[in-house]
């Protein structure tokens, strides 16, 4: 039923925005006349008593927007609309998700909490439970259900963990609700041929795409990491992972890339992420005489401990870790000593303070608003919200803030000039932004050593 609704409203929208029937980009001139008409409509509405407006909206919400959609182009925009985020707020990922939520709130504040005169509410949902101290599949599923059931919700920002996305993606897809992730980097979620054979179609029961991400994927990042290892003149690499979806995935890519680049992978092993220390593994690394250690893991899966134990056991090998460690907390946890000149962190994008154009504005505003340097994750959260809000603005201009309309506009995001640069969503829903940076730590702060692709 929801699918049918999505389809019918899509047709309505097509008719609405483009009476001629041809396909045109929303920013083109043709829908302008429509939006002007809608402006007039809205002005008329606003002159009526506000009670009428609210009761109308309530009515619309109660009956469901379907009937309203089926009517003529005179669909009134609702008074309020909602976007939600579903990120692990309880437990160890709290630091990163807090910076993401800060970014989202900031994007919302920048537009004054409104798109096209419609008030936008934002709710920050937790997909973790105290029981698990991490994302909880039951809660992520419940969040997705809750988002689908709440007709005010038009966009779902999330998730942080790729594993959690696997749970909510098919649900939201069937319901035609747009989902924009500020954190998932597992390639199989969108790219055919990079994960399991049935990926990514298994996440798209409706056949169309509703999932987008503003972060480059691990297949790009893992290769950049391997190339960087090669540039350090490594001949032997020791590959470790945290035995979770993200960490194992990127370690697999690194493993294959390293072999392809002619390096010898002396071991491929999974760590016990709750272990007190990795001194025994550090000893094994020392014995293997590997020049580079790659760890597919995050700050929460104890990457900092590994860095410390390499130093404590006097192992000379350089450590390369992926973007899950690109945060202040990693330096704090490992101590600058264990990282300076010894550890390299790859990241899809560049450090916020190196961002150009709008990124610089974001950087300055964030610092002013929150009184500290933005983390890399804050920019992801900000960008995800910004994409959603911009798409909503366009959809509202074109006359509808239905889920289908917002989804269509998000998918149409092209040459978006945001904090992370100038990029578009490709046919899979991935960002075309492929800028990668390799960073190290100097004087207790991240320092970019290399930027790849732009």
């Amino acid at each position: 039923m929801t699918q049918a609704f999505a389809r019918s409203s899509k047709q309505t929208f097509d008719r609405l925005s483009n009476p001629a029937g041809g396909h045109s980009h929303p920013s083109c001139a043709s829908p302008r006349s429509n939006s002007l008409f809608l402006h007039l409509m809205k002005a008329t509405m606003q002159r009526n008593t506000s009670t009428l407006l609210t009761s109308l909206t309530a009515c619309a919400l109660a009956i469901g927007t379907q009937t309203m959609q089926a009517q003529t182009s005179a669909t009134p925009l609702p008074a309020t609309i909602k976007i939600v985020s579903s990120l692990p707020r309880t437990g160890s990922a709290n630091a990163q998700t807090t910076s993401m939520v800060n970014g989202i709130r900031m994007a919302l504040t920048e537009v004054g909490g409104k798109v096209h005169g419609v008030e936008v509410l934002y709710e920050d949902w937790d997909d973790a439970s105290p029981q698990r101290g991490n994302w909880d599949p039951a809660i992520e599923a419940a969040n997705a259900d809750k988002g689908i059931a709440d007709s005010m919700v038009v966009a779902y920002i999330g998730t942080y963990n790729s594993g959690a996305a696997k749970v909510s993606m098919p649900k939201l897809n069937a319901a035609g609700l747009a989902m924009v992730s500020p954190g998932n980097t597992y390639p199989g979620l969108t790219k055919p041929g990079t994960g399991e054979a049935n990926e990514p179609m298994v996440y798209r029961p409706s056949g169309s795409i509703n999932y987008f991400r503003v972060v480059p994927t691990d297949d790009v990042q893992g290769f950049v990491a391997a190339e960087f290892a090669k540039s350090l003149n490594a001949t032997k690499v020791f590959v470790l992972h945290d035995r979770e979806l993200y960490g194992k995935g990127i370690a697999d890519v690194f493993n294959a890339s390293a072999k392809a680049l002619g390096m010898e992978v002396v071991a491929f092993d999974g760590l016990d992420t709750k272990a007190a220390n990795y001194k025994a593994i550090a000893t094994k690394i020392k014995q293997s005489k590997a020049e580079v250690v790659f760890y597919g893991g995050t700050t929460q899966t104890n990457a900092a401990q590994l860095a410390k134990d390499l130093l404590a056991q006097k192992v000379d090998a350089k450590l390369i870790v992926p973007d899950g460690c690109f945060e202040e907390a990693f330096i704090k946890a490992a101590g600058a000593n264990a990282l300076e000149g010894r550890c390299f962190i790859t990241f899809g994008g560049v450090e916020p303070k190196l961002l150009g154009g709008k990124g610089q504005v974001f950087y300055e505003n964030y610092k002013r608003l929150y009184g500290k340097e933005p983390e890399a994750y804050a920019a992801y959260g900000y960008e995800a919200a910004k994409v959603v809000l911009t798409a909503m603005e366009r959809a509202a201009e074109a006359g509808s803030l239905s889920r289908a309309a917002v989804l269509k506009e998000i998918a149409a995001t092209k040459d978006f000039s945001g904090a992370l640069g100038n990029w578009s969503f490709d046919a899979n829903g991935d960002t075309t932004n492929k800028v990668m940076s390799v960073n190290t730590v100097k004087d207790g702060k991240f320092e970019t050593v290399k930027v790849v692709g732009s």
């Binding site: 437990g91 160890s92 990922a93 709290n94 630091a95 807090t98 105290p130 101290g133 032997k236 035995r243 002396v266 071991a267 092993d269 999974g270 760590l271 016990d272 709750k274 272990a275 007190a276 220390n277 990795y278 001194k279 025994a280 593994i281 000893t283 094994k284 020392k286 014995q287 293997s288 005489k289 700050t299 104890n302 900092a304 401990q305 410390k308 404590a312 056991q313 006097k314 202040e328 907390a329 990693f330 704090k332 946890a333 490992a334 101590g335 000593n337 500290k372």
Partner: protein
């Protein structure tokens, strides 16, 4: 590349296993004592241990900020007196806290089933984790100037980390290893002597054997239980300083794994038995190190627990546990 037998590697792994095992053993003692007296698997013990390390981190931060120790010298020279003070202070802190927890959470449940006490202990462990989450934020905000309460925190080395065997040696042994033995072994000896020869120790053993009979013989069972919690907590607090110094990390979630390892050690050695807990801790430390080296770290948990099951099949009451007599 990986020679199966390399004496340097073996030596190093033995040393690491012993160091890790000693810390586990010290925590396991707290488990096994409480279990011996009131048959409660004290799930909150690991988290109590976590709070001890947080206190240590805060105190080190204060010491550095007040100029008592020079932050530049951390890891370069040894601060023995600071380490000693921390072991004592954190020990007393954890002991006292354990006493309070017993008083408010477990004592009202003495007559209820053992399982209700177990759930209360699980509840306490969640509460302590939350305290740790907030604590992790506060002193760091004041002293270290950063938020990120949930992230693990770096703990400075209190003793020198230069290699005692010479910079060229493959095997690394620093004062960080030595200090574990220097603190743990005397504590274990003192505990054994205390339980064997003092009046309170004897009362403990009597209560462990049969609480009602002990009460009839004039033992103040409540006092004995309180003392057990205090001593167990003290050992946990002491272990927390050693752990923080050895791994140089503290995190509000670290209590869980430490607790599980210690519980496993206590059962492996024979729950209720003090030498058993020590032996169990050492064995787990050694098996983990050997498995990381020779089997692969992704199989380490499987190796440890399979060994545990095997040992218990052949010795159903643990390595040094007394054979339980069927009640008649």
């Amino acid at each position: 590349m990986f020679e199966w037998f390399d004496s340097d590697v073996l030596l190093q792994q033995l040393l690491l296993g012993l160091s890790n095992g000693m810390i586990i053993a010290l925590i396991a003692l707290g488990y096994t004592m409480v279990y011996g007296i009131i048959e409660l698997i004290n799930f909150a013990h690991g988290d109590l241990f976590m709070l001890g390390s947080f206190l240590a981190l805060t105190l080190v931060g204060v010491a550095m900020n007040c100029g008592i120790v020079d932050p530049e010298l951390m890891g370069a020279s040894s601060h023995w007196w600071l380490l000693g003070t921390l072991v004592l202070v954190c020990g007393v802190f954890c002991g006292g806290l354990n006493l309070c927890i017993d008083h408010f959470a477990y004592k009202p449940l003495r007559r209820a089933s053992k399982l209700s006490q177990l759930v209360a202990a699980i509840g306490v462990s969640f509460i302590i984790v939350n305290v740790g989450l907030f604590w992790g934020g506060l002193p760091m905000d004041i002293l270290g100037g950063g938020g990120a309460a949930a992230a693990p925190k770096d703990f400075p080395h209190l003793v020198s980390d230069t290699n005692l065997l010479g910079e060229e040696s493959f095997v690394v042994m620093t004062w960080n290893d030595v200090v574990i033995f220097v603190v743990t072994i005397p504590l274990m000896i003192a505990l054994t002597l205390f339980v064997k020869f003092t009046k309170l120790g004897m009362a403990m053993r009597a209560t462990a054997q049969h609480a009602t009979a002990a009460r009839l013989m004039g033992v103040d069972v409540n006092k004995v239980i309180a003392a057990t919690f205090a001593i167990g907590g003290f050992l946990g607090g002491a272990a927390s300083v050693l752990y923080a110094n050895y791994n140089s990390t503290v995190s509000f979630q670290m209590g869980f794994r430490a607790g599980m390892d210690a519980f496993t050690a206590a059962v492996l050695g024979g729950i209720g038995s003090l030498p058993g807990a020590m032996l169990g801790g050492l064995l787990i430390g050694l098996v983990r190190a050997m498995s990381d080296q020779y089997v692969g770290s992704e199989w380490t948990n499987v190796v440890v627990f399979s060994l545990l099951v095997l040992i218990l099949i052949f010795r159903p009451t643990g390595l040094l546990g007394l054979k339980q007599r069927e009640k008649v």
